[in-house]
């Protein structure tokens, strides 16, 4: 305990230096926390699950995938034809509607990117929405029921709602960009919980399909995209084996000849989509994060080296009054580690709560991810980074205290 008190007192002795070093640690840990959260989230999205596999069925060759909606029923059943065939535990269809609330001014403040799907699937098939806490789940469930009761009802992410300057209850007209000449009259019935879906919108697929029928009736010919409205089908299966079997069913089905389809695991699909960002992610992972950690180590090492050099006399006195060289090493290491761990922990825990609770995620667009949560690991990352960097930065200055010779120090004083 007395040893700990000595460490505290030493840190307090040059408060400005301790605080400057802590401030340096805090800001650098802040950036590492953000970088690791983005990378960790993408790693999770691209790593295979051992159970509850999600598969994505898309057009085999083209991106964006554009399949006829007539494929939907068969694919939602995993193309099962025999009794023994594997059927999905759950499934959902996605039709993308890209539009604008202003026909002439298309930009960030008017843009709408919507998934058209069965509303009830939001709570069972959508990542993160399928594991909501009771409060947000009840809120979303209410909005889903409103969408089912009124097929023109839509759910809009909170940031998108703010960007288009609308609120729940307002009515909007969305002018189609990919569906040329299609205009959807919608009523905002709810929002997504803050986070991943902040910039997304959900439209009832029945409304989109009905609008395409209405287009055909009014124009006398189908919409140019009428046979290409189904973009993705998601299927959930219990195990890898059942996924493999279902892949065979879909690949061998005669139903999907023109255009042909492919099924891949969700992680594989995301990974392929992120391939274009490979270099950027490599820079984050292998250049930026290590450079920040080295900078952190150097800043700590510098501060501790200076501190040790300034206190050579004091350490000589400690030796005179009976401190062993190892105890002095632990004293120096203890100061650095205490400072690093506390500053690192404060920074990463603070970042966790500030980013997740106040700003609702790290706003950074990579592919279809527009916002990233700070991962739970951040609660211990800061302390760990602080410990490792402060240990690495202070071990040499600490070991150098062994070379302090009482006679040399006091001969200079004399």
């Amino acid at each position: 305990m007395k040893f700990m008190m000595l460490i505290f007192k030493n840190l307090r002795r040059n408060l400005v230096r301790s605080m400057l070093t802590s401030a340096g640690v805090m800001v650098l840990v802040f950036v590492i926390t953000l970088i690791w959260s983005i990378l960790g989230f993408l790693d999770m999205a691209t790593s295979e699950k051992s159970a509850n596999f999600k598969g994505i069925v898309t057009e085999k060759w083209s991106i964006p995938s554009q399949l006829p909606f007539s494929y939907a029923n068969t694919l939602e059943n995993g193309a099962a034809r025999e009794e023994s065939d594997v059927k999905p535990m759950d499934s959902m269809t996605w039709q993308f509607f890209i539009g604008s609330v202003d026909k002439t001014n298309i930009g960030f403040s008017t843009f709408i990117f919507a998934f058209c799907m069965e509303p009830k699937k939001l709570l069972t098939m959508m990542d993160e929405l399928d594991s909501l806490q009771p409060g947000p789940k009840a809120e979303l469930d209410k909005a889903i029921k409103a969408m089912e009761a009124n097929r023109q009802g839509i759910i809009v992410g909170q940031k998108r709602l703010a960007a288009i300057e609308k609120k729940v209850g307002d009515r909007i007209k969305v002018f189609g960009i990919n569906y040329r000449d299609l205009e959807l009259e919608c009523e905002i019935v709810g929002t997504f919980p803050p986070g991943r879906y902040d910039n997304n919108t959900c439209i009832n697929r029945d409304y989109l399909n009905a609008s395409l029928d209405a287009y055909k009736a009014s124009k006398g010919k189908p919409h140019p995209l009428a046979e290409k409205t189904l973009n993705l089908v998601w299927v959930k299966v219990p195990t890898k084996d059942s996924f493999t079997k279902m892949s065979g069913q879909i690949d061998n089905s005669p139903m999907f000849a023109a255009p042909p389809v492919k099924i891949e695991t969700a992680s594989s699909g995301v990974s392929n989509f992120l391939a274009a960002y490979k270099d950027l992610l490599m820079i984050l992972r292998y250049l930026l994060a290590p450079a920040i950690i080295i900078t952190l180590t150097v800043v700590i090492s510098n501060a501790i080296s200076i501190s040790v050099r300034e206190r050579r006399k004091e350490m000589a006195v400690l030796k005179v009054i009976g401190f062993q060289p190892n105890q002095i090493i632990f004293l120096v290491l203890g100061e650095a580690i205490l400072l690093g761990v506390v500053a690192g922990a404060i920074s990463s825990i603070g970042t966790y709560y500030f980013v997740n609770r106040v700003i609702g995620g790290i706003p950074f667009q990579i592919a279809f991810f527009s916002s990233f949560p700070v991962l739970d690991g951040a609660l211990w990352w800061g302390a760990a980074i602080g410990f490792i960097t402060s240990f690495a930065g202070s071990i040499l200055p600490a070991l150098s205290t062994r070379s302090i010779k009482v006679v040399d120090v006091f001969s200079k004083v004399a």
Partner: protein, 503 residues
């Protein structure tokens, strides 16, 4: 009574400790406030006055500033040798502080080189005399859907250049193909997203986009296919490739195929790419280095469209008679002039340069991320140099007292210590710039896009660490040295000579 004395001492020390603590916190908060203020000023300056094109001016500016400091040192008769000796005697501290500068500058120049490469790519792509026409509301080709019947009329408008009495235009269908990789590395993507441009007439398209083929190549034929050597196989689909994608696709081949290839590093004329039951055969490689077309595969729309399920056209590129006329055509199609606008159908039109400028939104996002990272890493560097300089000053309090007694004024002390920290910054900055420059020319992949929602084009490009990027790196380093050295130098100049001599 005996115990009362230490008790009183503790009581009297306690408020002092609290006051000391509060003063230290205020000092650090003041430093942070100064840092935030300087950062805000620097960012504002950079956003309004500095572009990657004029940033090279920062190099002479940085050296001029340092030269000015040296001139002041010389004319003020400040013993610079004293500062240099301090840096060399405490070489370990100097080196450690320099390492922070090296890392920050090196990483920043590398990142800026990446962004610069993307920006240059977008800038180099597009002819100011070309106009891109997309369907109404579309800002990206991938979601455009042009009605074929209206394309002919659009191309016939006044202002479009004519050759052989035909409007010079390129009818295109942009689509993205998901191509399996022969032997994917475990844990890495199994497919490559390949950008394919189906063309109506490749020769007209090449004229519109100003591309030639590398020697030995030829544009695909009017049929777009050629018979396979094996008569039982379907005809080969003819394609021409950008140079960048030709290199990347060469790497996607199986090890056995690479071993047998004429050129393992790049696909050559006559090489084939498997596509399900069909094969694509390379008839030429385009000179597209440094443009977004470097990542594209061009083929005959009437062949590749039906094969990939995309029969419609997405893009019409018109060659105007000149850049001024191109701007007029953009205004005409976009209906900017109420009295002179195209009314037969509603389309989105942009001059090609404006279009690719709008596609650099991804660079803007990356730039914002880089500014954040540079600011935070810069803060770390500033903390490092500040610690060093505070320690240097605390060890040389008596020296400062002596200098003051010898008649050196306060501002000379300030300049002396500031020059010392600027020297460390210059050294670290220069080495960091050299490290960053090592990234110059590296091939990288990324996405460029309009920023609104997912999408964009995957592009192959080269990292460009030019004088502008180096200027930004060096200036950041000097700024870190200046901010980190200023506060300790200010505290050094405030020492009173006699008090300093007493230590």
């Amino acid at each position: 009574m005996v115990d009362a004395v230490p008790q009183q001492r503790v009581q009297s020390q306690l408020p002092n400790r609290i006051v000391d603590g509060i003063l230290a916190i205020m000092k650090v908060l003041g430093i942070m406030l100064l840092f935030i203020l300087v950062t805000a000023l620097v960012i504002t300056f950079f956003l309004y006055f500095v572009t990657l094109d004029n940033a090279w001016l920062l190099i002479p500016a940085s050296f001029s500033f340092f030269g000015l400091m040296l001139l002041i040192v010389y004319f003020a008769k400040i013993p610079i040798g004293y500062n240099l000796r301090n840096l060399t005697v405490r070489y370990r501290t100097t080196l450690l502080t320099s390492v922070a500068f090296i890392l920050v500058t090196g990483v920043l120049t590398g990142l800026m080189g990446f962004i610069n490469g993307l920006k240059r790519l977008a800038q180099a792509t597009g002819n100011p005399a070309n106009v891109i026409v997309l369907s109404q509301g579309s800002t990206e080709e991938a979601v455009s859907n042009l009605a074929f019947e209206s394309m002919g009329d659009i191309a016939q408008q006044e202002g479009v250049e004519r050759r052989n009495d035909e409007p010079l235009c390129s009818r295109e269908s942009y689509l993205v193909l998901s191509l399996p990789i022969a032997e994917p590395v475990p844990g890495s993507p199994t497919r490559r997203l390949l950008q394919v441009r189906g063309l109506f007439d490749p020769v007209a398209s090449a004229q519109v986009h100003d591309f030639d083929l590398l020697p030995g190549g030829e544009w695909f034929s009017a049929a777009g296919v050629r018979p396979d050597a094996d008569p039982n196989k379907p005809p080969l689909v003819e394609v021409v490739l950008g140079q960048g994608i030709a290199r990347q696709l060469a790497g996607d081949r199986s090890a056995a195929a690479r071993a047998q290839a004429r050129n393992p590093e790049q696909l050559e004329v006559g090489d084939t790419i498997p596509l399900d039951t069909r094969e694509l055969v390379v008839t030429g490689i385009m000179k597209t280095e440094g443009t977004t077309f470097d990542s594209e595969v061009w083929s005959k729309q009437s062949v590749i469209g039906p094969l990939l399920g995309k029969s419609n056209y997405t893009t019409l590129v018109l060659r105007a008679t000149d850049a001024q006329q191109a701007q007029k055509l953009e205004d005409f199609f976009m209906g900017k002039d109420k009295d002179f606008k195209y009314e037969k159908t509603q389309v989105n039109a942009f001059t090609e340069t404006n279009y690719y400028k709008s596609q650099s939104q991804t660079s803007v996002q990356l730039l914002i991320g880089t500014i954040l990272v540079a600011t935070v890493m810069g803060f770390g560097g500033v903390m490092g140099v500040m610690n060093t300089m505070f320690a240097a000053i605390s060890q040389r309090v008596k020296d400062i007292g002596m200098l003051r007694l010898l008649g050196f004024s306060r501002w000379r002390i300030l300049v002396s210590f500031l020059t010392e920290s600027l020297l460390i910054a210059l050294l670290g900055g220069l080495i960091g710039c050299v490290l960053g420059y090592m990234c110059n020319g590296l091939q990288a992949t990324s996405i460029i896009g309009g920023g609104a929602g997912p999408g964009g084009k995957a592009v192959v490009f080269r990292v460009v660490v030019d004088w502008g990027v180096l200027g930004i790196g060096l200036t950041l380093s000097m700024l870190m040295g200046f901010v980190g050295g200023l506060i300790p130098a200010l505290s050094a100049m405030r020492f009173k000579p006699l008090e300093a001599l007493r230590g």
